[in-house]
């Protein structure tokens, strides 16, 4: 390991600009003559739009234009799309309702887009919007899946009169039912996976621009995947052909999934820029973000786990209702299906699994991928089931898990996935040691002496990352391939630019990707620049989500570096006057086997461009290579988290006392950055377990639409974390990387709830376990204990 190569905790190259205020986010970008967009949003969850009168608003000072859905439709611009086709049990396709960027005829959730006002200033646009007269015909609303599926519920989309988007299943139902019939013991749980609002600290923003001379569009956008945005806006929505369309995602202030999607506001800004012949800027405020960013989770599940006489799991059966919101967002359909049910085997050897998922339209904001996307929901199901089963069987929960762990690899689960490598027992054992589980009983007694309830909860999670082999996801309904691309440009003096389709919005790619290149080429890390986030610079890319940038994005760079090394060796053979087969490359130097002849990387780069020492007809001058990497399998990060907490039964306040995480992410490029990803993931998962919940009332009004109503985890709500690692290299990519971005958010919710239920002595608590709920549950525990 070199000081800046793979495995070193290199301090981040990108940090200087962020700590000095020199970062450049979309809202920091202003274009000459720009106008401002303000979206008039529906105050009703469900209503027909009978008439929109903009006469008075158009007279308001500074107004440039006001557009409605009819204007976009008249331009023959398409609606927003869902890019993953899911098929029902009977083979028929899912029912996707039209999703116009600005509403046509009807609004379907509070925050839905009714009109856009474009004015010289934002204040003028807001003032004018107040003067738009909309005649709504208010309809009854269905704000949750149960209401939406009742007979007589209001129909949200005509294509789905009963509000069912799809009725999907996975697994062998007959084998699973047979295993349950033969079971010694069956554990049953009803589970709610609470709806969350992603809330990256940077709200979404867009600047659309039209260049008359070249008849081309530019969109500056807060995106995790600018090339996917261009593809969708170009090929499906039809704003402009790709060669006339540039999408730039500069510094992006966190995404967590919510900035994958192609939304109405960004689409309208760039469309309107051409209409008004001015740059058009929109920046979301926080309440708009609550109303219109895609939310996460929102499942209602009944789950069962069967065990035999030896305490071995024989089957799992799951029935889930997934709230999709009012429209299908970009990848929404895949989240409660292929990103969910294939993970229900957890870390366990389970012979039979059957899952059925009903996706439902409601009059709420669209729901799509949020950090973990389907995998946290699956992990919550299996890790709650396993914990409760162990308690019912009077087996130590850790031992119950051990007894059922997958121990031989590769392991084919009954739900698609083939786990390639892992050592689950190693992670559990290390976590128990680091945590001092042995000392828990004494700590619990000490808490009890102070009148406090102490609990310890495990979560042994697995996820499928490195998303994903293109042909495999294509066979499951994906509309795109999920490879990644890279280009390595070596300059004549040996500095290197890496152009990557991955996008960094907090993950530190400018550092970790440079570490890979610095180590591989033996050049200083300062000589490596990472270029990303601009479709005019980077030819193609699929972007960053699903913990894929290391496993997929860096693998593409490795493949391109392989080509660079092969080409440079040919140049070196000419320069060093040796046979190509005798050239070796190590630590930044080309040497000739058996001689003391050598040349460093920079000098060979220069020779490649000078092209004096070889015949330019036989060997092309220059040193630039590109590659696409298509994964051969998903990757399977896994690990064990242990949460230990104390409950004050007098107030219901939960205090997390210690947190231990031992994760197997395969090989690690930068341990400092990886640990940071774990910390952040845990905080989001603890947020889900204890604090966060998006709440709609029965009329479909979002009553948690600001940071004053929706509890974001703050520093004083969280502990410091004890983070360790075990490593089994991933066999399906050249770096042996599994991915680390989502693990914390996937692992942590069941660890918290398992600890709370352990402390309470009963299972009757739902997320978020707010002080009110915990207080009530603690009172119930006290009454139960008194009765016993």
């Amino acid at each position: 390991m070199t000081a800046t190569g793979i495995g070193a905790p290199v301090r981040r190259k990108e940090d200087f600009r962020f700590i000095t205020g020199a970062g450049r986010y979309v809202d920091d970008i202003n274009r000459p003559g720009q106008a401002y967009a303000y979206f008039l949003r529906s105050p009703h969850a469900h209503a027909t739009i009978n008439k929109i009168d903009t006469t008075e608003a158009m007279k308001s000072p500074g107004v440039v234009a006001i557009f409605t859905g009819a204007d976009i439709e008249a331009d023959k611009v398409g609606g927003l799309i869902c890019g993953w086709a899911i098929f029902n049990k009977d083979g028929s396709p899912m029912r996707a309702g039209a999703h116009p960027a600005l509403a046509i005829g009807k609004v379907r959730y509070v925050g839905d887009h009714v009109a856009v006002v474009i004015a010289d200033t934002l204040a003028q646009a807001r003032d004018a919007a107040e003067k738009i007269d909309v005649d709504y015909g208010v309809l009854s609303a269905a704000a949750d899946v149960t209401t939406a599926r009742k007979a007589g519920a209001p129909t949200i989309h005509d294509v789905a009169p009963d509000n069912q988007v799809y009725d999907w299943h996975l697994g062998d139902k007959a084998a699973t039912d047979a295993a349950f019939a033969a079971a010694k013991h069956v554990t049953k749980l009803d589970i709610v996976n609470n709806r969350l609002v992603p809330n990256p600290m940077e709200p979404r923003a867009a600047v659309g621009e039209y260049d008359i001379g070249s008849d081309s569009l530019t969109l500056y956008t807060t995106s995790q995947n600018p090339h996917v945005a261009r593809l969708v806006l170009s090929a499906f929505i039809g704003l402009a052909p790709e060669n006339k369309f540039r999408v730039i995602a500069p510094d992006v202030g966190g995404g967590f999934g919510s900035k994958i999607f192609i939304y109405a506001e960004e689409t309208v800004c760039v469309w309107a820029a051409r209409k008004v012949r001015r740059a058009v800027k929109w920046t979301s405020d926080r309440t708009e973000a609550f109303l219109s960013d895609a939310h996460g989770r929102d499942h209602v599940t009944h789950a069962e786990l069967a065990t035999d006489a030896n305490g071995k799991i024989t089957a799992v059966r799951v029935s889930t209702k997934a709230n999709m919101g009012a429209y299908l967002s970009t990848f929404a359909s895949s989240v409660p299906t292929y990103l969910y049910a294939p993970l229900l085997s957890g870390q366990y050897n389970i012979p039979a699994i059957y899952a059925e998922v009903e996706a439902v339209y409601t009059n709420t904001a669209p729901v799509d991928a949020y950090r973990g996307a389907g995998r946290p929901e699956a992990t919550y199901v299996i890790e709650r089931l396993v914990e409760v089963a162990a308690r019912e069987l009077n087996v130590d929960p850790a031992e119950f898990r051990r007894r059922n762990f997958v121990t031989a690899f590769p392991h084919q689960t009954p739900v698609i996935m083939a786990y390639d490598a892992g050592d689950y027992d190693a992670s559990l054992t290390k976590a128990q040691q680091m945590h001092d589980v042995a000392g828990f009983a004494a700590r619990k007694a000490a808490s009890a002496s102070k009148g406090k309830l102490r609990g310890l909860g495990y979560s042994a999670y697995i996820e499928a990352c490195g998303i994903a082999p293109s042909a495999a996801v294509g066979s499951l309904g994906a509309g795109v391939g999920l490879w990644e691309s890279a280009e390595v440009r070596v300059n004549p003096i040996g500095t290197v630019e890496i152009l990557t389709g991955s996008h960094s919005h907090g993950q530190g790619h400018e550092t970790t990707f440079a570490q890979l290149v610095s180590g591989r080429l033996g050049i200083p890390i300062e000589n490596v620049s990472i270029v990303h986030g601009d479709t005019d610079k980077v030819q193609m890319g699929m972007g960053t989500y699903g913990s894929r940038s290391g496993a997929v994005g860096m693998s593409a760079i490795v493949k391109a570096l392989d080509k660079i090394e092969a080409k440079a060796k040919k140049v070196a053979a000419h320069v060093l006057e040796a046979a190509e087969g005798d050239i070796e490359f190590k630590n930044g130097k080309f040497t000739v086997k058996g001689t003391d002849k050598e040349a460093d990387f920079g000098s060979i780069a220069l020779q490649a461009y000078i092209a004096h020492k070889f015949n330019g007809q036989e060997l092309e001058p220059g040193l630039k290579e590109s590659a696409f990497w298509d994964p051969t399998n998903f990757t399977f990060p896994a690990g064990v988290h242990i949460c230990e907490l104390e409950i004050d039964p007098a107030t219901g306040v939960v205090t997390i006392d210690r947190w231990t995480a031992v994760d197997d992410f395969g090989n690690v490029i930068n341990p400092m950055i990886v640990e940071g990803q774990v910390h952040g993931g845990i905080a989001q998962g603890v947020g889900q377990a204890l604090f966060e919940g998006a709440v709609y009332d029965s009329d479909g009004q979002l009553i948690t639409a600001s940071f004053m109503d929706y509890t974001m985890p703050r520093a004083q709500d969280l502990p410091s974390y004890n983070v360790g690692m075990t490593i089994t290299a991933c066999p399906s990519n050249p770096l042996g990387i599994k991915g680390c971005g989502e693990a914390g958010a996937i692992a942590s919710p069941p660890a918290v709830i398992n600890a709370i239920t352990n402390a309470l002595g009963h299972e009757n608590i739902t997320m978020p376990a707010t002080p009110e709920k915990v207080w009530k549950a603690a009172q119930a525990s006290a009454q139960k204990m008194a009765a016993e």
Binding site: R17, I19, T20, Y25, A123, G254, G508, G676, M708, A715
Partner: protein
Amino acid sequence: MAKVSMTVNGKPVTADIDPRTLLVQFIREHLHLTGTHVGCDTSQCGACTVHMDGVAVKSCTTLAVTADGANITTIEGLAHGAQLHPMQEAFRENHGLQCGFCTPGMIMSAVDIVNRKGANLDEHTIRHELEGNICRCTGYHNIVKAIGDGARAMGAQKHAAE
């Protein structure tokens, strides 16, 4: 329109502004100092934190006219030329940031905490004092470490200066 004059990062500025202009809009849109961010509009997240006459304020809920005559420091004014402020150094060294969006506000709040509470800060104090700053990336672990280290470095610098 209203006329405001203030000193921002050591430079006097005067402007005629719409009276409803917020201090953060004045800083970002009139002075083009875009290091100060808006994360929530309701004084909850602290991404907009600047110093007004040496005290941390949330510039998203401060009218620019109320800063008339004040001395404002933003994240851009914290370093001395090429030399970073010890709190900036501590955030980099401790990986106290990921996406960077909350970072300017975090650093401005952290300096304010040290100004109020001194250079020897325990973890509990730091976590409690960060009540007004939200980070969605780091889980706070490394921010808390960074502020502890940055505080000690500020203390050492002050000691050396005395």
